[in-house]
């Protein structure tokens, strides 16, 4: 009898803890997802009452649409480069700040400040940097560097990568820094006793101990990059032409600007599926490599 009452108490506790989050999650994510799934089988324009059912037409179009293919190609390139650059530099900066560098708190703050700025402002700042500020350096030093990175199809990816990495490296650096500081010193001492060099200590002690941080950073950067949108809004507008149109940018333009809500919904459902697959694969692979101290 007493056990039953305890079970009920625990159950109520569970429910009271789960319910608020579950409601928010349901209203903000699950319901829209179901609605988008439903719209994806219609040719609804987002305005009329009628939502003509078109079956799998939107999905068929999705697989043959060259704009979708180009947007995915751009998004994947952006994601791969972002994941590599941000992880490498964030780790390097974290290691530098984890050592006996003077004024490291100041550096930490400086690296972190850009990620407090909205991505919209970052885009605008870098548009100005490339078109107005950096070309002045050319005039000052008599050089001819091409700083107009947003101006052509060949350089726009580089321009956006610089802007995005400038903003986010500091954030991921803090995660690596926290992970580095939590590695037990005894492990390094034991490695030293075994005659391990600094490089071997890094490979056999530091890297394995950073595995959980790698999981967080790689999954976070990948999914964040696949969803990039706001940076383009205030900088390239998805251009020149469609050269920097990410998949999210295309979905928004199609569904809202282009009044093809049904097709836009099909695109977003496909994006969710891709994001899920990538996240599951990444977490699966990375978790296997994690070790406990």
């Amino acid at each position: 009898m007493r056990k039953k009452s305890l079970d009920n108490k625990i159950f109520l506790q569970y429910v009271s803890l789960v319910l608020p989050g579950m409601l928010i999650f349901t209203v903000g994510l699950i319901i829209p997802l179901f609605m988008a799934f439903r719209y994806s089988f219609t040719s609804w324009n987002g305005m009329t009452k009628e939502m003509p059912f078109v079956g799998l037409e939107n999905y068929k179009k999705f697989f043959t649409d060259s704009y979708v293919r180009d947007a995915w190609a751009f998004t994947i390139k952006f994601t791969i480069w972002n994941t590599i650059i941000q992880n490498v530099f964030a780790l390097l900066f974290a290691m530098a700040l984890d050592s006996a560098v003077k004024a490291k708190k100041i550096y930490r703050t400086i690296f972190f400040i850009p990620c407090l700025i909205s991505a919209l402002i970052t885009g605008f700042v870098w548009l100005r940097m490339y078109s107005n500020i950096l070309p002045k350096f050319n005039e000052l030093i008599g050089a001819h560097f091409n700083f107009l990175l947003f101006g052509s199809k060949e350089t726009v990816l580089l321009g956006l990568l610089i802007a995005n990495n400038w903003q986010w490296i500091g954030y991921w650096m803090l995660i690596y820094l926290a992970a580095l500081q939590s590695v037990p010193l005894e492990l390094y001492e034991a490695a030293k006793v075994d005659g391990a060099s600094r490089w071997k200590q890094f490979i056999h002690v530091t890297l394995p101990m950073l595995a959980p941080a790698f999981t967080i950073c790689i999954v976070g950067i990948t999914t964040g990059s696949l969803k990039v949108y706001d940076l383009m809004v205030s900088s390239t507008g998805g251009g020149p032409g469609r050269a920097s149109t990410s998949i999210i940018y295309l979905i928004y333009n199609t569904a809202i600007g282009g009044r093809q809500y049904g097709y836009g919904s099909a695109m977003s459902i496909s994006l969710v599926v891709v994001l899920l697959i990538i996240a599951v694969i990444q977490v699966g692979i990375l978790r296997k490599r994690e070790v406990q101290a």
Binding site: V27, K49, G241
Partner: protein, 443 residues
């Protein structure tokens, strides 16, 4: 184990029910016609007669052009003097980017009482029965007759056009004067002007193609004179299969004029430059001309208030192109709003209060669409505008904009033009792409 089972039994139905409820709500969202026909809700009854002093808060969705930000404070101030019981709750958004998405959103949840957009929005939303009829209202009689056709559907007026933008080629008068350059009327004359300017080392055109809307805007300027002026229902013909972009020499010319401009501007920079920078360079004499609209005047005068500039229509092959005027700030009211009287009072204030009208026109540097109100700001291009107007050489931008939708069509075509200018596709590819998306072209 039992607890887990119970928990899952609770969670799963909750999720399913919540999801279905959400879908159901959407299905039952009010349609255009339902919105029109719906009776005012109990809790939102308007002020009854004899209770005029009852406080009313009107929701306003303002889709603004770059010139318009700040107008809302002026209207608030004037309204507070005449009708202190009416308060406007503003939501100001960028017309080009956010007005349509916001309208889409509100069409599901209920429209704001007042919407401020462009005259072309009347075609989009008026045709769905969402807008209130303004026909016969006293304030409509204050509006210039020329502004009414663009906001009239089935003989009913659905928009109060407040100001207008002029579009054409803005030019630096000093450069033209110093180099004895005459205003070109034909393409041949324009090419001669371009050659002369290039010979003098002056960039002929100031451009900012990083803004896709700029390419879309100038292409429509060309098309209004070359396509829609001759075939006003060209968009309908496109949708009916009687006309195509690929088969239309006029539309091809309109695309090719973009190339003419691109070849005679700062090619390397234009896809990185914004409007403010391009406008500033025209004022500074770094370029001689800019295909633009009145939205550039604020920038011109901000850089140099004594800048001397004029305007002429972009020359076409036959030399009969006209200056384009675009009805801009257009007040519309929700057909469903329970506050029809209060909205009428707001519209009465904006049309009757000449001081307010002057303040707005002088601030936005735009032309008046109200009878007997003439802006007093120094507009060096006004003499040119008056000349074209008196000669009957003015055409309404709505001739094109009500035929071809901006979002999803004109905007996408502009991206194709950008791709073509950058050498990624051919002009034929760009024209074919426009034909391929014709189902999205209806406003």
């Amino acid at each position: 184990m039992k607890i887990k089972k119970l928990l899952s039994l609770t969670v799963v139905p909750t999720l399913v029910i919540a999801s279905l409820t959400g879908c159901g709500t959407q299905t039952e969202a009010p349609s255009a016609s339902e919105v029109t026909e719906a009776a005012p809700k109990e809790e939102t009854k308007p002020a009854e007669e004899g209770k005029e002093q009852e406080k009313v808060v009107l929701k306003v969705l303002a889709g603004q052009s770059t010139t318009d930000a700040g107008v809302e404070d002026m209207i608030d101030e004037a309204l507070a003097k005449k009708y202190p019981e009416i308060t406007l709750e503003w939501e100001c958004v960028d017309w080009g980017k956010d007005f349509q998405p916001k309208m889409q959103q509100y069409m599901q949840s209920g429209l704001p009482d007042i919407m401020i957009g462009k005259a072309q929005d009347v075609t989009t939303y008026g045709s769905q029965g969402l807008l209130g009829d303004l026909t016969g209202k006293e304030y409509i009689s204050k509006v210039l007759d020329a502004a009414l056709p663009g906001v009239t559907l089935d003989n009913k007026v659905y928009g109060l056009v407040y100001n207008a933008l002029y579009q054409g080629v803005y030019y630096n008068k000093q450069i033209f004067k110093d180099n004895n350059i005459e205003i070109p009327k034909t393409q041949a004359e324009l090419k001669a002007v371009i050659d002369k300017l290039n010979g003098l080392g002056i960039t002929p055109f100031a451009t900012h193609f990083v803004d896709t809307w700029s390419i879309g805007n100038i292409t429509m300027q060309f098309a209004i004179n070359d396509v829609f002026n001759k075939t006003p229902n060209w968009g309908d013909k496109l949708r009916e299969g009687e006309a195509t972009f690929t088969q239309s020499p006029e539309y091809r010319s309109a695309y090719e004029y973009n190339k003419l401009i691109f070849d005679n501007t700062w090619k390397d920079e234009t896809f990185s430059l914004e409007q403010t920078e391009a406008d500033a360079r025209l004022v500074q004499g770094k370029a001689a001309m800019k295909v633009s609209g009145s939205w550039s005047i604020q920038n011109f005068l901000d850089v140099d208030e004594k800048f001397e500039f004029g305007i002429f229509p972009f020359p076409n092959q036959t030399g009969d192109s006209k200056l384009i005027f675009e009805p801009n700030i257009t007040f519309m009211k929700s057909a469903d709003s329970p506050y029809q009287d209060a909205i009428d009072k707001v519209f009465e204030v904006v049309t009757n209060d000449k001081e307010l009208a002057l303040e707005i026109y002088n601030y936005t540097k735009t032309a008046s669409m109200l009878k007997d109100v003439t802006p007093t700001f120094t507009n060096p291009s006004q003499a040119d505008i008056d000349k074209y107007a008196s000669d009957g050489n003015i055409v309404d931008a709505n001739t094109g904009n009500t035929q071809l939708q901006w979002g999803g069509f004109q905007e996408e075509n502009a991206k194709d033009i950008a791709e073509w200018l950058q050498g990624n596709i051919t002009i034929d590819d760009a024209l074919k792409a426009a034909d391929a998306r014709k189902e999205n072209s209806k406003p």
